[in-house]
């Protein structure tokens, strides 16, 4: 570091005072610091002894009171009529000392705001469609292979919002039901779109590898949450579900959706600017959009 660290503080200050350019005098706020004084510690000591006397001997309290009184009077004389202060030993307070030296460091303004970039919302839509199809294929595969019915997963999904599904027998669950089908499709579309939009915003924030984050980590976390809450959300599904297949369908969705979204070029987000300028009410410097 700097070689002058073995000089005393006073020497360094004197050095800096000598270097100081004499600028226009600026009114310092306060020109003095209070002088050291023994009275506060004496008063504190006395006050403590007043209380200590309660558990020892009343004479202790008397001594404490005397100390406290002397301390308070001394303290009062310290601030009245004038505060007892020590002038600051900088040459007259008028000397303008140079500011401390800061090593020049490469600096980016600490104002970068993230996420700076997102994928276009359109790609979220496309990704949602891709994911929805991929998920439907896996789910249908489960229905056909494990349960022997294409309609089974669809009816179970409808159970998320329709309590009546809970009363159905296994036979009814395996058969086509128009109302349930429409509900299931609606649920599937809504959820897929929502997740797609979340991916649009969140994938650029993930450290590198969007496929890993969107296609594997997110489905695993999501399956974990579903596993913990399914009993409440959809008891019917809980009864028949196969968790490996469930995880598989989530991963299928995640990979398809993330793959579609991450292939698009990101667009810069215009955050960190005021609402007016983002709305175009104000022309700001360097605003090319």
């Amino acid at each position: 570091m700097t070689p002058d660290h073995d000089k005393s503080k006073a020497e360094r200050l004197a050095e800096r005072a000598a270097l100081a350019p004499r600028g226009p005098s600026e009114m310092p706020y306060l020109r003095a610091i209070p002088q050291p004084t023994p009275w506060p510690i004496l008063a504190a000591f006395g006050l403590t002894f007043i209380f200590a006397g309660l558990v020892t001997n009343w004479m202790v309290s008397v001594v404490g009171a005397a100390f406290a009184l002397v301390g308070l009077i001394g303290w009062f004389r310290e601030v009245f009529p004038h505060e007892n202060v020590e002038a600051i030993p900088v040459a007259d307070c008028e000397a303008v000392l140079p500011p401390p030296v800061f090593e020049p460091r490469p600096a980016k303004s600490p104002r970068n705001v993230v996420p700076e970039e997102i994928h276009p919302y359109q790609s979220g839509f496309k990704g949602a469609v891709a994911g929805a199809i991929a998920m439907a294929v896996v789910a249908a595969g489960w229905g056909l292979i494990d349960e022997g019915s294409f309609w089974m997963p669809i009816n179970l999904l409808a159970g998320t919002v329709l309590p009546s599904v809970g009363d159905a027998t296994l036979e009814q669950l395996r058969l086509f039901n128009g109302g349930w089908f429409a509900t299931a499709v609606a649920v599937h579309v809504c959820l897929s779109l929502a997740v797609g939009m979340v991916f649009v915003v969140s994938l650029p924030m993930m450290p590198r590898r969007p496929l890993l984050a969107g296609g594997l980590i997110a489905p695993i976390i999501w399956t974990g949450i579903a596993w913990a809450t399914m009993r409440v959300v959809n008891p019917t599904l809980e009864e028949y579900i196969s968790w490996p297949w469930f995880l598989g369908s989530q991963i299928a969705f995640g990979i398809a959706c993330a793959a579609v979204i991450s292939r698009t070029t990101k667009i810069r987000l215009q955050v960190g600017r005021s609402f007016e300028s983002r709305m175009g009410f104000e022309q700001t410097e360097g605003d090319s959009s």
Binding site: M1, T2, H5, K9, R12, L13, E26, P28, Y29, L30, A32, I33, P34, Q35, P36, T37, P38, W39, P40, I41, A43, A44, F45, L47, T48, F51, A52, L54, V55, T56, W75, E78, V79, I88, V90, A95, V96, L97, P99, P100, V101, F102, E103, R105, A107, K108, S109, P110, R111, N112, V113, V114, P115, E116, M205
Partner: protein, 535 residues
């Protein structure tokens, strides 16, 4: 002598922090004895009476003689430097407050020799740090050790209150030109709210302790149920103090994180106005949550639900802070220096402590877990993983400013990892043993409860933490003598304390600085792109 009569806020602050660290060692040794005793079932290292004294003194020490003084000490050091003042508003009152804290602490510890014990020996208070009635009545607490507890805390409480008045006056009246309220460093905001909480909470404790003192010495009937008093009233009064106290202990640590994290993320704090609002919100809501310590008292469903709800509510501003810190780190160029490690650890540990807090705010859950080791685990995650980690981060961050020398980074990282691992070893298993039904404050337990392994792990963590603290102390001693010279601004920070020399002169600034933005030092270092443009 020069230190005893000093009214300089920096000297007082260093004495605050130094005294707090000494009490930290004392309280830590008390805890170590407890963990030693509990390491195995049926241990007889300390007898039950001593164990009661150990946990009482450990709790009282850590809250009143470690947490408060160290945080008030940091406030003392940083507030004038950060708002650009020469000293506190009332420098002599500041010294008075400090010495009251010291003498109060000594009075409390004098009970070890001075209180009426058996055969003329001393005896420390043994009623627990929250001293529930009627255990504290003359009938059940013989001798005067409880009176020592009352008076020691009373005196140091006076100190805290005077310091709080000083903080408020300094922050409101001593700011340098241009330092608007919304340009103040986060620490100043946190300390303002803390001072407000001190002024609300500590007088309530003082009042409750006066009542208890009247009960014990004059035969009054405030808290003794046998003579028309109400033991529940003590709980209400104590926790009306006690819960804001928790925020008094954690808010300054929030402040440390909010200063250290931006510096080492090379990004400004995320959501400053929201952070301020959340702080003020926490300040107010924390006055209305106290009875969540009392769910098992049987307050009735209405009060239970109300206090459960307010407790959930306070997690909202707290959550805002957590997300703001994450937002600060996000996309930043992170530098994992020791202070940054500690504050990152703080956020992680505090989230765990906060989540278990939400579990405990759920009334039925609390009925199951109250007064178990789960609670012990919970509040140590908040106060050790939170406050103490914050304090260590702050020590590493501002040590160069206070002494002019850097603390050694390699030793610092050892300290962090040892503390982190030791802390997790000690306190994580407590959640399990608590869930398995182990009550707090028992001096030993039977073999067949399934608690042995968890207690053993807890106890194993203690020497790990002690090693971390020992390395830290060695680091301080070594760095004071031959640490790397820090320079005025070693971390390339943006707040005013770094604009003066290290250590700062007695008068803090050669000229009172002016302030054009929330990051005045950035503006001075980068006049070509001042932060003021972004405000």
């Amino acid at each position: 002598m020069q230190w005893a009569i000093s009214v300089d806020h920096k000297k007082l602050a260093m004495m605050y922090i130094g005294a707090g660290l000494i009490f930290f060692l004392v309280g830590g040794i008390e805890a170590a004895f407890m963990r030693l005793q509990l390491a195995q079932a049926g241990n007889e290292i300390v007898d039950p009476a001593t164990f009661n004294q150990l946990f009482t003194m450990h709790g009282t020490t850590m809250v009143f003689l470690v947490g408060m003084p160290i945080l008030l000490g940091f406030g003392n050091y940083l507030i004038p430097l950060m708002v650009g003042a020469r000293d506190m508003a009332f420098p002599r009152l500041n010294a008075f407050g400090f010495w009251l804290f010291i003498f109060g602490g000594l009075l409390l510890y004098f009970s070890y020799v001075g209180a009426d014990g058996l055969y003329g020996a001393g005896t420390a208070p043994d009623v627990g740090w929250f001293a529930y009635a009627p255990l504290t009545s003359r009938t059940f607490s013989r001798g005067n050790s409880t009176d020592y507890w009352i008076l020691g805390i009373l005196v140091s409480g006076f100190g805290s209150m005077t310091t709080a008045i000083n903080f408020i006056a300094t922050i409101l009246c001593m700011r340098c030109p241009g330092m608007k309220l919304m340009r103040m460093p986060m620490i100043a905001w946190m300390m303002l709210v803390v001072a407000f909480l001190v002024l609300v909470a500590i007088p309530i404790l003082t009042a409750a302790q006066s009542m208890l003192l009247f009960d014990r010495t004059l035969g009054a009937h405030f808290f003794d149920p046998e003579t028309q008093g109400s033991a529940i009233l003590w709980q209400h009064l104590f926790w009306f103090f006690g819960h804001p106290e928790v925020y008094i202990l954690i808010l300054p640590a929030f402040g440390f994180v909010s200063e250290i994290m931006p510096t080492f993320s090379r990004k400004v704090i995320f959501g400053y106005p929201l952070m301020v609002a959340a702080t003020v919100g926490i300040g107010f809501i924390s006055l209305g949550v106290w009875a969540h310590h009392m769910f098992v008292v049987g307050l009735g469903p209405v009060l239970d639900s109300f206090f459960g709800a307010t407790t959930f509510l306070i997690s909202v501003p707290t959550g805002i802070k957590i997300f703001n810190w994450l937002g600060t780190m996000w996309g930043g160029r992170l530098q994992f220096t020791t202070p940054m490690l500690f504050v990152t650890g703080f956020v992680a540990m505090f989230v765990i402590g906060g989540l278990t807090g939400i579990m405990l705010a759920t009334v039925p859950m609390d009925w199951q877990l109250s007064d178990s080791y789960f609670v012990v685990g919970h509040f140590h995650y908040v106060l050790f993983g939170g406050t103490v980690f914050g304090i260590f981060g702050a020590l590493f961050y501002w040590f160069p400013k206070a002494t002019g020398r850097m603390l050694n980074e390699r030793l610092g990282k050892w300290t962090f990892w040892l503390l982190f691992i030791g802390f997790t070893l000690t306190f994580m298993p407590m959640h399990v043993s608590g869930a398995l039904g182990m009550p707090r404050r028992i001096y030993t337990y039977e073999v067949d409860r399934g608690w042995e392994i968890w207690n053993l792990i807890s106890s194993i963590g203690v020497p790990v933490q002690m090693a971390g603290v020992a390395i830290f102390l060695w680091n301080v001693v070594r760095s004071l003598r031959k640490g790397e010279v820090a320079g005025d601004d070693p971390w390339d920070a943006w707040t005013l304390e770094w604009s003066t020399t290290s250590p700062p002169p007695d008068w803090n600034f050669d000229r009172i600085p002016t302030c054009t933005s929330a990051r005045p030092l950035w503006d001075r270092k980068h006049p070509e792109d001042p932060d003021a443009h972004y405000e």
